[in-house]
Symmetry: C2
Amino acid sequence: MNIIMDQLHNAVLKKGPVCVGLDPKEAFFPEYLRKKDGATSEKLFEFNKKIIDATFEDCACFKLQIACYEAFGVEGMIGYSKTVQYLKQNKLLSIGDIKRGDIASSAEMYAKGHFDGDFQVDIITINPYMGEDAVSPYYKYIKERNKGLFILIRTSNSSSTELQELIVDDEPVFLKTAKLTEKWGKDFIGENGFSAIGGVIGLTYPEEMRAIKDELPNMFFLIPGYGAQGGTGRDAALIIGQERCGVVNSSRKIICAHKGINETESFSECAFEAARKMKEDILKWL
Amino acid sequence: MNIIMDQLHNAVLKKGPVCVGLDPKEAFFPEYLRKKDGATSEKLFEFNKKIIDATFEDCACFKLQIACYEAFGVEGMIGYSKTVQYLKQNKLLSIGDIKRGDIASSAEMYAKGHFDGDFQVDIITINPYMGEDAVSPYYKYIKERNKGLFILIRTSNSSSTELQELIVDDEPVFLKTAKLTEKWGKDFIGENGFSAIGGVIGLTYPEEMRAIKDELPNMFFLIPGYGAQGGTGRDAALIIGQERCGVVNSSRKIICAHKGINETESFSECAFEAARKMKEDILKWL
């Protein structure tokens, strides 16, 4: 069975492990775009489209942090919708970084919203605090519509320790979450050996993460924390290894690469170079 | 200092502890509304407005489960925006049940989105899995704009046990979360003695929840789980007590009360009766 994580893994093998984070803020827009007339949704889409067109050959997928769109209200959500539809039209893989987590009746509504209709993406991120009830409503979409999930296991921020590192039966909570994630995903394993339910692990503690990975060989990873958050190419390579079992996200390093260098319509040439450089920075360790 | 939780507590003292859950689905619309022409956003707003107008004298606040709006795409978000703006115009308290939880740079964007602009509400719900980094970006809005948070402590769904009941140092994880919530909220205590950072606790285990409450006297609670989810008025009364330290949410019991009874433009008379009945069902135990 060829599933979404096979497609993502194949994209990593072909184009490298970079995931471009489309997390626009007004301050990130090049000067020409800030000065231009037009609706915010149009500007958001123009910014994203140029980044996508410049980087798609060097990245496996695109991730949209939905907070950056909600910040702009309804206009932001129109920009989000236009962007995910553009990715779909161009057969590029999309991750909605929505980190939702709610009871089954609400999760069903989130599934409808983010796996169908205006905000439709291939994979969404999910918060595990409520347990499987907050995950199982998506199973139908995994099976019938070839969608996928990334469950938050260990995040890259410093206060992730407060709950995720609490020790239960000699194991940290994040390892419990990792094992739950593996259990939830066991019926959705594709031909490359990865489940359609993967995990989010920050780049902050690569050795420890490598250990999680060795224990959970069917898990594909979404790895934030490269660049602006301090993670290096070597750290990323340590986690994804020769099997290339993950994508490594960077947002600001790529989408802000033009700041102070090129504020014109050709600003995304900087994103092209930054994405290629990031790809090389990871691959050289493999 | 009169803060948002003082306003909410005062509303409970004056109008009772009911929180009406504005969680519309198309199947909940009365027949006249389903048949009516018009944009989905208009229908969502008409449905909500009639419920609000019918129930505001018997409820302390309104809670919007944002999943129900995201399910409708951009039109849903316009309906969400119209509804929260209507509540604001009418000086009615609003809770955005968004359960967001993300790193600081994203939390700042969520704060901008949900405490300002189109989606502005008084209080939002937050997921604690990432620790204080996912909470502290809202502090500025608590201080400067009189906003509030409800942190998910123990949820009302059955798989909440998987992570929330793991035992750490002889205490369940949800009690750790409760203590973290109390710590985060200690600088935001209002004149009625409650912090602007409250907690979400399901109505599923009232005795246990009563114990949390006795340990954390400054915490105001949002309590889901009444009615469709199995909680009773007696359970709710046990938690909120004479001090009335919480609001009790019901959605379907109120907004679906008309189904099969009144499918006309006067459908919301059923919501009026259901909200009043729920209020009496809780208050009679106090």
